[in-house]
């Protein structure tokens, strides 16, 4: 893996239903989520307002924004419930030596 990346802490302490926000100096924060089949990373800032999705509620495969209760798919970043309509960017996640690494260079394009 080359290019910009950010560490998101040890993978053993990331619980389901407890997403973790990762601040990026000079950039937009990302949020990491544990689902039954793996760890996923998406933009932390909701596309509808200034909310932090790491403060949101995980419902199955989706995260609910704590401001207006819109939803996003954690795996794909797609906006799945009004009032959210613009998708989040997603980032590949690697586990290196027990730590979560988020690859910032390869992100899915906004739809």
């Amino acid at each position: 893996m080359t290019g910009p990346r950010v560490g998101a802490g040890p993978q053993t302490t990331l619980a389901e239903n407890e997403p973790r926000r990762v601040d990026i100096p000079g950039g937009d924060p990302v949020a990491v989520f544990r689902l039954p089949d793996g760890i996923f990373a998406i933009d932390d800032t909701c596309t509808h307002g200034a909310a932090s999705l790491a403060d949101g509620f995980v419902e199955g495969d989706e995260v609910e924004c704590p401001f207006h209760a819109g939803r996003f798919d954690i795996r794909t970043g797609a906006a799945t419930l009004h009032p959210c309509t613009i998708a989040l960017r997603t980032y590949p996640v690697w586990i290196v030596g027990g730590d979560i690494i988020v690859d910032l260079s390869a992100r899915s394009a906004r739809q």
Binding site: G49, A50, P66, F67, H68, A69, P83
Partner: protein, 418 residues
């Protein structure tokens, strides 16, 4: 507008104080907004994000637990005035208005305006109105006053009543659950306040209780018809606070609860351990307070009671049992059962107090005039700390309540001799 000092004398008040809507509005401002009011017990909002809805006077507020303490926020969006938080209780990270989606954090800061390109408002000036909050022994008080006196100064000699309630718990704290019973009185809030330290009415309003209920020990003393046999007393504590004290009527620990002293050995041990045996026995003998804390809190022995004014002739009396943290479950169940006797719309006691207050309100509304509060004037005792103590049936508490009321409603009023 008539001046307060023309309606309040040392031993008399005018009925308009109970029936005039303009005076009620003034009270909501001068008393409920500008002085300390009781808002909640902190056990009602134990976890971060927990919130409940309450009122300060008639103003709806949100009471929310944050990482650093408890906030009391006006429950009104600063945009166009919608009620910000509708649910009665819950857990939230933010409060989003359902009208235009403005979002406020638990400190009252405006943190989001939808469709921001069109927003010209200065968010820093649009935070929610926030009260000053202070807590004593877990009892949370709030005020919207800009420069309130310290809470302990407001509590004054009533602080010992909060201690008295809390010290009965082996952990030094009462706790309450999430259910409150709400009893509607079609009467003025001050009629409830004044009834809390009224010993004179007990034999008459609660005549059916005396006749019908078989309760040994607890009420024998105050249901006597012999004036010199009363050992319970009433007190005007200053700052509008008043109380009845039954301590002198209890011979043994836990008589107040209607049980023998050795009924809960684990509880006794825990109390001896905390206070030392002698002090613990005295705490358990004297029992809980029966104290009114101005303007809206009543420690009703086994229940926490809040007086909520709705309008000049409508008031809600809220109550919930005051559990003792760390006490055995059976003891708290007994507290619940005892509370059911006294408080609520179907209770053996307060149901009848409500009817009397409603009759009183209607009679005064239709037939205004001056009331008589002279009883016991020549036999009250004033302690060194300023507390006025008198016979159980005397009206020192009423006089003390009204003197404080006058000071708060009309600062600088000249006191008129009776």
């Amino acid at each position: 507008m008539t001046r307060m000092q023309d309606l309040i004398g040392r031993t008399t008040v005018h009925s308009r104080l109970y029936t005039d809507a303009a005076i009620f509005s003034q009270e909501m401002h001068r008393i409920f907004t500008e002085t300390w009011v009781f808002i909640a017990h902190h056990s009602e909002i134990p976890q971060r994000g927990d919130f409940i809805r309450r009122t300060i006077g008639t103003e709806p507020v949100i009471v929310v637990r944050t990482a650093t303490g408890v906030n009391v926020l006006a429950n009104r969006c600063t945009h166009r005035g919608n009620l910000l938080c509708q649910p009665d209780h819950g857990r939230k990270r933010n409060f989003a208005c359902q009208y235009h989606g403005w979002v406020f954090d638990p400190d009252g800061n405006l943190v989001d305006i939808p469709y921001p390109a069109g927003a010209t408002a200065d968010r820093s000036k649009l935070g929610l109105r926030r009260a000053t909050v202070d807590t004593y022994r877990g009892f949370v008080f709030a005020t919207f006053a800009k420069h309130p006196v310290p809470l302990l100064e407001h509590l004054g000699n009533a602080r010992q009543a909060l201690d008295r309630a809390s010290d009965l718990s082996p952990e030094g704290e009462i706790e309450v659950g999430r259910t409150w019973v709400k009893h509607l009185f079609q009467a003025n809030w001050k009629m409830l306040s004044e009834n809390e330290a009224d010993g004179y009415h007990v034999n008459f309003v609660h005549d059916s209780f005396a006749k019908g209920i078989k309760l040994q020990g607890k009420y024998d003393n105050v249901l006597t018809s012999e004036e010199d046999k009363f050992t319970a007393v009433v007190r005007a504590l200053g700052n509008g606070h008043t109380e009845l004290d039954y301590a002198a009527t209890y011979q043994q620990p836990l008589t107040w609860l209607g049980v023998k002293p050795d009924r809960y050995p684990g509880y006794n041990e825990a109390m001896y351990s905390r206070h030392g045996e002698e002090r613990a026995k005295e705490i358990m003998r004297a029992g809980p307070p029966h104290t009114f804390i101005f303007p809206n809190l009543f420690l009703a022995e086994t229940c926490l009671v809040v007086i909520q004014p709705l309008a000049v002739g409508r008031t809600v009396n809220w109550h919930t049992p005051m559990m003792l943290k760390g006490a055995p479950h059976e003891l708290n169940q007994r507290i619940l059962r005892q509370g059911e006797v006294a408080m609520g719309p179907s209770s053996f006691l307060t149901a009848d107090d409500a009817i009397i207050a409603e009759r009183q309100w209607r009679a005064l509304d239709g037939s205004p005039g001056w009331l008589d509060l002279t009883r016991g004037l020549d036999r009250e005792t004033i302690r060194e700390d300023g507390v006025v103590v008198s016979h159980y049936t005397d009206e020192a508490p009423n006089r003390g309540f009204w003197q404080h009321y006058l000071r708060v409603m009309e600062p600088g009023a000249m006191q008129v001799a009776a």
